[in-house]
Symmetry: C2
Subunit: 541 residues, 2 copies
């Protein structure tokens, strides 16, 4: 074992006097992050902009300035590394997603979300792969193998929902928000799992055995990763409940929650599972149990600290992508044939549009068949919004493309260079053009407090970027009532009619009678409800 | 510019499938951090133990286990890197120190703290250097130059106050706490500044010009670093006040505070200043101005998030030192002559003891001369406590020793290997033996609520590890009253009699009439005093 990380961490040595230029880069980067936050705040009221586009624009501008000052040699101050991305930037984003998600909405729409996230991504993957194989025949873009085409399918199936979530409002359009959000997370996981499966399998000879093995592997990863995340979350809840850290130190509780969450991610990587899924479910379990076992200060701290880490990581990624886009080395290969590059990018964009349309509308139809209440059905305007919301391609696509088509950040082969530049083009174009149009489109299709006023939940309205996923008092107690007081039909009929509701009902019973007494959770720890902070959190943030 | 960090960060690539062993290491390390927190909590009531010793012990045990399982090849899973230490671990610790320090106590004892921290460290440095030159003549320990001996002086003048501060209680012994704490911070900065000065100067020909240049350089570093920190803090306060981020997002405020603090540290490194001093004063200014300009949630979050980061970094360091201590490579050189190694270590320990005694008692005497109130004087028992509290040598010493005596974590020369192993021995011995004896010694010399009950301030008592440095309502208002109501002698007489009080008086006037209206701060932002969270923070943490 032993020396891997050591040498890795060592090489981080930036402040040693020998390496003064990297101190300059680091200063510039931190200063740019600050600038993104300030400018993003100033532009918040703007009709078109959002934080992602701001960071991307600042990154691009910085890239241009560096390109000019260094005389065209280099445009970025950081080489994009998928390891940095997957180890340090993605975990806090996904963990926070799980931690802040409105669990009830998420699980009520669980089937639809899984349908969109898993099945939809597979459909999109299939269409983009087949489309790329068919359409790229006519282009002379170097030697791409079957594995490369499948990888292209996985790369361009990975949506980037960060941008959209900044536009959608969890209170105004809760159904839409939970669908897009949940789909985004499951999609992230699915495409990464797909991508890993593609890289690990010998795909030159596809037959039934390989296909079955592939599917089995996929489900194995999905289930074990989820289980690991749930176990890690439960373990943290149990430890904190048993030791009752609140007796002494908020710091210890917060530290333990952070470390356990990170440990779950690293453990998943250790066992070659999907860290993304693991850490997402760890976040959900932690918000359901662990978060209720800690002191009030810890609750406020964890809620905002995780959100802040996720926020900074997102800005970091977009800044990074913006800066990296102008890297001269990659563009050198394609500068001879600009038409070809534009062609490839356009085809990929078209495939993305078609691939997404091909599953959003059919799957929405299927999903609507299972729903009885008209409020739960997905209207056509909402379907268009969902379709549009998933068109952006972001950092996950970039990271996967770098993983597939570069060696240590550098491109040697022509075909690989074209794929990298095309990915950059698709990411930039989709984020900027589709991103800019999202806010107006959502306003046009779904004017606030008209279509969806019936769906606004009863809880106090909260400002946009901070959600109160866990304090929602009105939310779960309603479900409690529903479970105990109102007479219900027999379980079998219920299960056939509204399967997810029944599952939820049994889950509540199991949770209340076994899980909560064991692992804590709201109402099962010595805690004064309605304590000053709980109110003030509503009031202040 | 450009590629330095990139390649550095890139090399962090631990999760790439090629480098699975580093994932194992990382898992082990994170799991050990969790174990340290849990075990440290369980042992908290213990008479002897504290968190540092626990982490050190766990690190040592893990080292032994790894040594056995790898068949004596390797004992650590991370190579100690002073860059990792100085860039990622030290900044949060020092920033948090500045952020949580009781500013009034600190500035009231400012002269004494500077006397101990700066002058005292210089005296200790001189004694250890000269002592080492004289005593190591008799040993055949390879080729050490004059620069090496001066470096030894700087290395062993760097105290480690983390351990002591876990034992001293800010409420029971406020004077002692602020002295030891303040001295620790100034000492850290002084020894690092000294060390850098030694490395940068050609010390083979010492004459008056070089000495004067050295001293000038020292003061230049001290003053510019402090100014940079103050400026960064004020800038953050101004930005947040002007933009009034609270209107929208706690996340943005917290992110901006973190990034600005880190930026101040990196800027200091950029200009070859002392990042430690900069980030310490940035922390003080941020807690005085910026912290009052943000939302209630941000206040709770920043307070605990910074404390948690600092806490984890401390445990990380001790775990690291414990694991690294058994590294077989360094001990190979000294295994031929164990007696020599023991001799060198004993001499260094003795020099540490003498060097500290040589300034604590005389400087306390000088400091007492300037004080009128017997409460402000430093009694003999307190002097012994201060002396003892600064005997521990920790991560700063290790980091400096590695910097001076190794190339990229490896030792080639025999003299260097002996110095490294001696440093490890001194650090382990002083932390464990002196550390174990600190708690009983403090209890014996200063039984709680007897000697110091008169010094306990009027503010509500707070639990040990979390201090409320900024909410202290009773504290500053008392000074306000003193400044306006009670008739005072003329300023000149005041200045002669109690200089620091007068400085404080003028500072308050300047602060109230100019600084606070400009940069915010308590009472100068739209904020309801006595709001729910403010009470609950007292109540809950």
């Amino acid at each position: 074992m032993a020396f891997g990380i050591g040498s890795g961490l060592m090489r981080l040595g930036m402040v040693s006097t020998s390496d003064h230029s990297s101190v300059v880069s680091m200063n510039l980067f931190v200063a740019l992050l600050c600038a993104c936050i300030v400018i993003g705040h100033l532009l918040e009221e703007n009709r078109w902009m959002n934080e992602s586009i701001t960071a991307l624009a600042i990154g691009l501008c910085t890239g241009i300035v560096i390109l000019l000052t260094t005389g065209g040699k280099s445009s970025h101050i950081l080489v994009f590394s998928e390891d940095l991305f997957f180890i340090y930037l993605l975990p806090p984003i996904i963990f926070n997603a799980g931690f802040q998600v409105k669990k009830k909405k998420f699980f009520r729409n669980f089937m639809t979300i899984m349908l969109f996230g898993a099945v939809g991504t597979l459909i999109s993957f299939g269409i983009i792969s087949v489309g790329a194989i068919q359409l790229f025949k006519n282009f002379d873009i170097g030697s791409l193998e079957i594995g490369d085409f499948l990888a292209i399918g996985a790369i361009f199936s990975a949506t980037d929902s960060v941008c959209t979530l900044q536009v959608l409002n969890q209170d105004e359009t809760p159904l839409l928000y939970s669908l897009v959000f949940g789909e985004g997370v499951v999609n992230d996981a699915t495409s990464v799992v797909l991508f890993n499966a593609i890289q690990n399998f010998d795909l030159s000879h596809i037959n039934t055995t390989v296909a079955l093995e592939f599917i089995g592997n996929f489900f194995y990863l999905f289930i074990t990763s989820t289980m690991l995340g749930v176990l890690a979350g439960l373990l943290s809840a149990y430890i904190i409940k048993k030791l009752y850290f609140g007796r002494h130190s908020t710091d210890r509780e917060v530290a333990l929650m952070m470390l356990m969450a990170y440990l779950s991610y690293m453990l998943a990587e250790l066992f070659y599972l999907s860290g993304i899924l693991t850490v997402f479910f760890c976040g959900i379990v932690m918000s359901h149990y662990t978060w209720h076992n800690v002191t009030e200060s810890s609750r406020v701290t964890t809620k905002h600290a995780f959100a802040t880490l996720s926020f900074v990581a997102e800005i970091f990624i977009f800044l990074y992508v913006g800066m990296d886009a102008l890297d001269i080395e990659k563009w050198r290969f394609v500068s001879n044939s600009p038409g070809k590059s534009v062609g490839v990018s356009s085809i990929l964009l078209a495939l993305v549009l078609v691939g997404r349309a091909a599953f959003v509308f059919p799957l929405s139809f299927i999903s609507n068949l299972a729903k009885k209440s008209p409020n739960d059905k997905i209207g056509f305007k909402q379907q268009i919004t969902i379709w549009w919301a998933g068109l952006m391609r972001g950092a996950v696509s970039m990271a996967l493309a770098y993983n597939q088509f570069t060696m240590a950040g550098h491109t040697q082969l022509r075909g690989n260079a074209i794929m990298i530049t095309s990915t950059i083009t698709v990411v930039l174009f989709s984020t900027v053009v589709f991103g800019l149009m999202t806010k107006p489109l959502v306003r046009f299709l779904l004017p606030p407090s008209k279509n969806f006023s019936s769906m606004v939940s009863s809880e106090p309205s909260s400002p946009k970027s901070i959600t109160i996923p866990l304090l929602g008092n009105g939310q779960d107690s309603e479900a409690d009532l529903g479970g105990h007081d109102i007479p219900r039909p027999t379980s079998l009929r219920m299960l056939l009619a509204t399967p997810s509701h029944t599952v939820h009902h049994y889950w509540r019973k199991f949770d209340d009678s076994f899980m909560r007494p064991m692992f804590g959770g709201r109402g099962f720890v010595p805690f004064v409800p309605g304590s000053p902070i709980e109110q003030s959190v509503h009031q202040w943030q």
